[in-house]
Assembly symmetry: C2
Homo-oligomer: 336 residues x 2
């Protein structure tokens, strides 16, 4: 690993606000850092740029492996930049935690988009704590906004907890699907529907077109079985082809129309307000855990009883409570 260049707090702030991409990348690396000294600077930088954030439309894009996310984002991203907008793409990929990317290599992902000066692509951090991924992604997103990006895509894989985390930081959540073998209605879960603002059937090209149209009808019918959401938006079902671009313009227009409606009915701001509260809570968890594990007495105590914990000689939850009590005692002692 190349040694990271450290900038001053003001250099980070000025660089990000002036839209300098090198500094933007360095600032994202800073917020991803686990070092307490970096964390403090990161918080200062975030607080300083915060007034310049919030102006982009934040779009979450998810779908299981094989659904064609990279191709979709590549094409859809081109459409966005051709509209004269600056686009940032952030990837959250917990599945590549212990490795990196797909078998065929991630180097070829979004090849043309990554060459486009109007787009900024930030690959997912790897080897990091699970809880932290989403917190850092949120901060990366805000840094991109402060750097002047008009649209942020947050890409995530699968349908699980990472999606719930991403849903907690975007304005619009888009689920990519494939036309399957007739079990669309079986597989689709209420929670997923409640989470997404649009269901897009990808790969609607060539001999898949008919199946995609059929799937679209089935989903659209199924959606009517659900109670109306708080924001009164009925998730849209559309087909598209990431390969030849069919349907992408309509998806972009639909997102524009969603944004307009949500701003008018007040949900857009309400949602962002809730998200700010979640952000605070995520950061509280992060701070509590770091101060716990960085406490030297705790570190020593864990090391001393590691064998007993691992062998099961002591109960893991009993030991956990004991350690938290030691931690609290330590805090009290600090004062004396």
């Amino acid at each position: 690993m190349k040694k990271r260049k450290r900038l001053s707090e003001q250099e980070y702030i000025d660089g990000v606000l002036s839209g300098d991409r090198v500094t933007l990348s360095q600032a994202i690396t800073l917020v991803e850092s686990a070092l307490p000294s970096d964390q403090l600077i990161a918080e200062q930088v975030m607080s300083a740029v915060l007034p310049y954030t919030g102006k982009s439309i934040r779009i979450g894009i998810t779908g299981v492996p094989g659904v064609g996310k990279s191709t979709f984002i590549e094409r859809f991203g081109h459409l966005v930049v051709e509209e004269g907008l600056k686009l940032a793409v952030l990837a959250v990929d917990p599945s590549s935690q212990s490795g990196r990317g797909s078998i065929l290599g991630d180097k070829t992902r979004m090849e043309t988009l990554s060459m486009d000066k109007r787009a900024y692509i930030r690959p997912s951090p790897s080897g990091t704590a699970l809880g932290g991924v989403s917190a850092r992604t949120r901060e990366a997103m805000l840094l991109c906004e402060a750097a002047g990006f008009d649209v942020v895509f947050i890409e995530t894989v699968g349908v699980g907890q990472s999606e719930i985390a991403v849903k907690g930081m975007v304005d619009f959540f888009l689920l990519l699907m494939l036309a399957g073998a007739g079990d669309e209605l079986q597989g689709i879960k209420k929670g997923i529907i409640e989470m997404c603002d649009a269901l897009i059937i990808n790969k609607a090209d060539g001999e898949n077109i008919e199946a995609a149209k059929r799937a679209k009808r089935e989903y659209a019918n199924a959606l009517h079985l659900f109670p109306i959401k708080e924001n009164t938006w009925l998730p849209k079902v559309m087909t598209c082809s990431g390969l030849n671009g069919d349907g992408l313009q309509s998806i972009w227009e639909m997102i524009q129309s969603y944004k307009e409606k949500m701003i008018n009915n007040g949900y857009f701001e309400k949602n962002r307000a809730d998200q700010r509260l979640n952000w605070m809570n995520d950061h509280i968890k992060y701070l509590l855990e770091s101060s716990f594990y960085q406490n030297p007495t705790i570190e020593k105590s864990i090391n001393d009883s590691l064998t007993d914990i691992k062998s099961g000689n002591v109960s893991a939850i009993k030991k956990a409570r004991e350690l938290v009590e030691i931690f609290i005692h330590q805090i009290k002692m600090d004062d004396k």
Copy 2:
């Protein structure tokens, strides 16, 4: 909601250890409770039953919606109980967090297995904190073991963080897949392969058989591109039909052979030892967060500044640090 009946600590312990299913269910509800008084009893119950845990084989089963998990578990579960073993099935389903189950209803899931006296099926808790799901699932699993179950299935949906959490508590991780439209190799991620011990192509029946066999060959070839895992086990690729039962016996034998090999090479115990340490760390996080949010001063301080946090007038991360400092100050004051 029916009012929950509270038992004494000893009643929970005796009931679980005697294999009483009503008490087992009540004990799982107890560990799922967020009430501090329940937590303390739950910890006592868990510590008391801990010496009687560890004897089952713990199998994680995952796959995206539509892959046929319920049908697979129904059939595979029957095979397990026909072997004379007692089976517990626990479901972790973050996607149904804001709702419950699939459109067509979860009532019909695993219908015959749920009627079988040799099987115990525990549906997923809903509306709970994300981080908590996995912690509780681990404790539910241990309670099932203490109640005498020989095999535990932990079912989860999608491929994301919940899988990583489940991987952290099972001995064997099985990924169900479908034969797709040739993009198997594109979609499969290194992280998923590194996580799973077997890739099972489901729905290998009727006109799908050839496609399933082809997919199996492709996956098996791809797996050879990966470095050998620490436990020297090369993930197996197999086909099966949850519908007609084809291939299930071979899967069960493969899991037996895995267990034997891992016990012999020491990995089985090493993996469980690491999992015990994770359990402790999960519980530490849980305790830190509960003592923070249950602190009356913190509660009041959050309420007082809620408007400012939500509007963005104060920086969420600045406020987080401030609250953590108040919390630490509070702990110090307690002593005086």
